[in-house]
């Protein structure tokens, strides 16, 4: 083994990549997958009679978590770059409402989708410029925009819900299916696939990692650090807007409370999924698993007949355990 690797090195051939990958692999990521498997097994047994392990229920879980998954993909990029985005929860509501109003007033899906995404990108751009130009930490900037955007969502329709009757919209972003697969599942899969590709296989992804790892090193290497930070916040805003469309499509309507509690769920999903809170490394696939963990927990606790307050407590405890397990590595 050793001699072979040595010969390879001498001959300037890439050493066996798989060995390196295994060695460099982050054990935290396996904790996530093992934990996910464990939760599935426990619920499968304890909730056998409540229909946990039926195809409709499992598809239901994936559908329910679609907005969380989409936002988690964006947040992985943001956290990796060493920033955070707390504004996503309220962007969900505003973008959903904008889509609803556009559909109501103009009956044009492209216009509604474009306006909604523009809201997300706009908030992200605002966050990004504030962070990079005014040099306020993203924690504070996005905390402020969280409130600001939530306020806009409230005044926009005077706290009124907007029903959406556009069938094609509701199908594409909610209850529809393509080739027998729920569009919500497809949106999740697409977000994760694109996110993963961008993260692991593009120059932009490499720059995001470098910026969160060592911004100075990135800068002296010619990486446009500020531009990367703005970009990840814009992407996060776009993901939140897409999440808003998914809620609007699924619920056939929009209201200012959409996404209200999502910010914490998304952060929990991303961290439980084995991502670092402090930048420089991360995993999009892990975030998907983290998001599914959140969905399964939700579903299992409801099927298990826990009251809302009991669910909150149980979820809190489980997240604490998961985060403790995934962050343990940091201290080593």
């Amino acid at each position: 083994m050793r001699t072979r690797a040595h010969q390879n090195a001498r001959a300037a051939v890439t050493p066996p990549a798989i060995l390196d990958r295994l060695r460099a692999a982050d054990p935290r990521r396996y904790v996530v997958y093992a934990g996910f498997a464990l939760i599935m097994v426990v619920f499968s047994i304890t909730l056998r009679d409540s229909g946990f392990l039926t195809t409709p229920n499992l598809v239901h879980i994936v559908q329910q978590t679609a907005p969380i998954t989409v936002m988690a993909v964006g947040l992985v990029l943001v956290l990796t770059a060493g920033e955070i985005d707390l504004s996503i929860g309220s962007v969900v509501a505003l973008s959903a409402l904008v889509a609803g109003v556009m559909l109501r007033d103009y009956d044009s899906m492209p216009l509604a989708v474009a306006a909604s995404l523009a809201v997300g990108a706009g908030v992200g751009l605002f966050n990004g410029l504030f962070v990079t130009r005014v040099r306020v930490p993203s924690f504070l900037v996005t905390l402020a925009t969280l409130g600001l955007v939530a306020g806009l969502a409230r005044v926009m329709t005077n706290l009124q819900s907007v029903p959406i009757t556009h069938e094609y919209f509701n199908g594409l972003f909610g209850s529809g299916s393509m080739a027998g697969i729920s569009t919500l599942v497809l949106w999740s899969a697409a977000a994760v696939a694109v996110g993963h590709y961008v993260y692991r296989h593009t120059r932009f992804g490499a720059h995001v990692l470098a910026v969160g790892d060592n911004a100075r090193a990135a800068r002296v290497s010619g990486v446009k650090v500020e531009r990367v930070k703005v970009a990840v916040l814009v992407i996060s805003g776009l993901c939140a807007a897409l999440a808003g469309l998914l809620y609007a499509g699924r619920l056939h309507g929009a209201t200012y409370t959409l996404g209200e509690t999502d910010m914490l769920t998304v952060i929990a999903a991303v961290i439980v999924g084995g991502n670092r809170l402090f930048g420089g490394s991360g995993t999009v696939v892990g975030a998907l698993v983290g998001s599914l963990v959140m969905g399964v927990l939700n579903n299992g606790l409801i099927l298990g007949g826990l009251s809302v307050s009991q669910q909150m407590i149980a979820r809190g405890v489980i997240i604490l355990v998961a985060v403790a397990l995934t962050l343990r590595e940091e201290k080593a």
Binding site: T14, A206, A217, R219, G280
Partner: protein
């Protein structure tokens, strides 16, 4: 950028009467120096003498208040660090400007990643194999080009930083106290790398407080004191004592 210029041609780097003020403070005044390809010139002087300022001017981080920079005979002006890099100038920093959690090959190619195909997918395979070939050639002993920086020792990291400079610097490598954080054996390895760079025809400007090191590797020694150029000596024709007295001010500046 031609690196095949004959040795007697214009110097790789010529600094002509460089002056730099920060507000009212004069950090460097009237500094002139030539470095030819295949030469190591050491820049020595006490703390605050202006050594790093000169490195930053040549690497495009600072702009000189007056004076000029020429590379291979052509006057240049660097609006920023990328411009200097574009002219084949690389910097090796004391505090290792490396991204710790990324693999060696990504650090080697950071900002200049190789991509392939219509989707411009990162060509990790090619980056890793080129990195492996380079570290093997320079005999930088690291476990693998795919190892993350944080798994490496300080010496291995500096080896990576110097290998990176070797790879990208077509004309000039600036080193600001590159071995200040290294142990004896690791310092020796880094000095070996500097000699290899010299053999490859690169010009090297080495900032160091370690006079033994300066005498081991440099061809010429330039002395700065409080921003003023005291003199330049051929290593073979000077002594520790002379350099020390130039640094400390016991010996007056050469007539300009």
């Amino acid at each position: 950028m031609s690196t095949t210029a004959t040795p007697s041609a214009a110097p790789a780097l010529r600094l002509d009467r460089i002056r730099k003020e920060f507000g009212g403070v004069v950090a460097v005044e009237n500094f002139s120096l030539d470095i030819h390809p295949g030469q190591i010139v050491a820049l020595v002087g006490d703390n605050g003498a202006g050594k790093s300022t000169i490195v930053k001017i040549v690497s495009g981080v600072h702009h000189p208040t007056s004076g000029s920079i020429a590379l291979h005979g052509d006057q240049v002006h660097f609006p920023d660090a990328s411009a200097a890099r574009g002219h084949g100038i690389e910097v090796v920093y004391q505090d290792l400007a490396l991204a710790d959690m990324q693999p060696v090959y990504m650090n080697m190619f950071l900002g200049r990643e190789l991509v392939t195909g219509p989707l411009r997918r990162l060509d990790k395979k090619r980056m890793a194999s080129q990195t492996q070939a380079l570290v093997d050639e320079l005999d930088v002993r690291i476990p693998s080009a795919r190892a993350t920086i944080r798994e490496l020792s300080g010496g291995q990291r500096q080896g990576v930083a110097i290998a990176r400079a070797t790879h990208w610097a077509t004309s000039l490598v600036l080193m600001d106290e590159p071995t200040a954080a290294l142990g004896v054996a690791e310092t020796a390895r880094a000095e070996q790398l500097m000699r290899q760079l010299r053999e490859r025809g690169r010009a090297i400007l080495l900032v160091s407080h370690n006079l033994d090191q300066v005498f081991r590797v440099a061809d010429r020694i330039a002395v700065l004191r409080r921003g003023a150029q005291i003199g330049v000596r051929e290593t073979a024709k000077t002594t520790h004592n002379e350099i020390v007295s130039m640094i400390t001010g016991l010996q007056p500046a050469d007539e300009a």
